[in-house]
Symmetry: C2
Subunit: 278 residues, 2 copies
């Protein structure tokens, strides 16, 4: 692994993630007239042995009750605790580069599904991609589930014939609450440690996952956002969100990793819903 | 450790916990006219290798927005995963007895502090007590903090001169959110693995902790429950509760233990606040 190549590629990837962030935010703002994302940038200084930074964008609107779209690009030397958790990090002496986009949307209307999407590039002495997207409706509609899966299936089929089946299964297994014996939602795709040996091909797939998200999710929002709902429907949504909190704080790797670092809790807890009931 | 003595003692302890539960619930109902606790019992059958059961009592009132008071008494043989976490359990071949009372109150008025109290008796090849109580105000009042601590200090001073200082420190260390770099609240006492060799004396202390709670907390509720508050105060409360959720799902031993067993999630997640914001 040539470190200059890694840094150059990470820069290219970060540029794509920033562009995707801008396009996603524009699409979401178009669906929620009168509301805008608020951006806040952050930087890592040398005192953290880390460089780079990122930008959080959050909108609290009428349709999007709370949505966060974060992009980050961080590199440097990670703590020893961190090294044990990341493939190839002990071999690189802790040196790493990471860039990605991460998105969670909690919707005001109980008939609009919540959604998560994340894609990322990681490099230590190895380099790989990870990511996925899953849909969490309170009241599932077969039509939405079918269309959501079809969009990601298309991205997967362009990559490798078995990819969709594998990544769908991985998603179902990952987004599951054992203590409730229930899935978080209706699934999607999930993949990690992706490194086929053909980086250009892997990266095209990862970009297509982002594009698939941008293609399908705004359509689902437009389809359901004006559906009439009752107070009881809204109560059901708020309780469903409790499951989301339980999953993210107890099981989600990204959130757990955040708790173990000195990262900004507002960033890795951006996924928390705006209002929740138990 | 004579197993018959253990079982007899656990039965006596459970009887005390049930009586304490009844008295606490009566005191809380008196402070929230027109509202009553709803009780639901549960039993463990042989298919779980466990026997015994418990009773959850929950009130969703006007003053007590959500309060749960649970008593349980369970015995049998625990899973191998569980054995590794409990002192003396490998030596007992997994046989154990556990009984305790557990209480969490989330209050409607932002000026009434939330509270937690738990005391328990555990026996494997060893036997010990654990417990404590801590106060989580959104807007702390020195008077409340002082009175709360004084009540538990009195219980501790009757047990051992250094107990209060030790158990206060343990509480401050335990109820701390490292990722936020902030304490959960204003403390109280916390103790575990308590076994001085004089079981009668230890048990008297544990009972006094319960009595101290019943003495002080209703007085704090009465003192603050009619304080006028604004929508902004209530918002601050709902965000403070987010910290409570983060602590319980990420750090709390009892909750984590619940997630790792096949216990009823409604029981170990009784501590979740009724409404939360992030």
């Amino acid at each position: 692994m040539n470190i200059d190549n890694v840094q150059n590629f990470a820069g290219t990837a970060a540029e794509f993630f920033r562009d995707l962030q801008a396009r996603i935010c524009a699409a979401f703002e178009a669906l929620d007239p009168g509301h805008k994302f608020e951006a806040s940038g952050w930087e890592r200084g040398d005192e953290h042995r880390l460089k780079g930074g990122g930008q959080m964008r959050v909108m609290r609107g009428k349709v999007f009750e709370k949505v966060g779209v974060n992009v980050s690009h961080v590199w440097g030397t990670m703590s020893e605790a961190g090294q044990k958790q990341l493939p190839g990090a002990e071999e690189s002496g802790g040196r790493f580069t990471a860039t990605g986009i991460s998105l969670v949307a909690h919707m005001a209307n109980p008939f609009v599904p919540a959604v998560h999407m994340n894609t990322r590039y990681m490099a230590t002495s190895q380099a790989w991609f990870g990511g996925g997207s899953d849909l969490t409706p309170t009241f599932p509609f077969d039509e939405d589930t079918t269309d959501f899966h079809a969009a990601f299936r298309k991205a997967c089929d362009g990559y490798r014939p078995d990819a969709y089946a594998e990544y769908k299964k991985w998603c179902d297994e990952y987004f599951y609450l054992p203590h409730r014996q229930e899935p978080r939602g209706v699934g999607g795709i999930f993949f990690d440690n992706l490194s086929s040996g053909d980086q250009a091909k892997d990266w095209a797939f990862v970009r297509n996952v982002g594009e698939a998200f941008l293609d399908i999710y705004p359509r689902l929002v437009a389809r359901r956002k004006d559906t009439a709902f009752t107070d009881a429907d809204r109560e059901t949504l708020l309780h469903k969100r409790g499951r989301y909190v339980e999953f993210n704080l107890v099981y989600d790797r990204g959130t757990k990793f955040g708790f173990q670092t000195d990262a900004n809790p507002d960033a890795y807890l951006m996924s928390m819903p705006p209002v929740v009931k138990w």
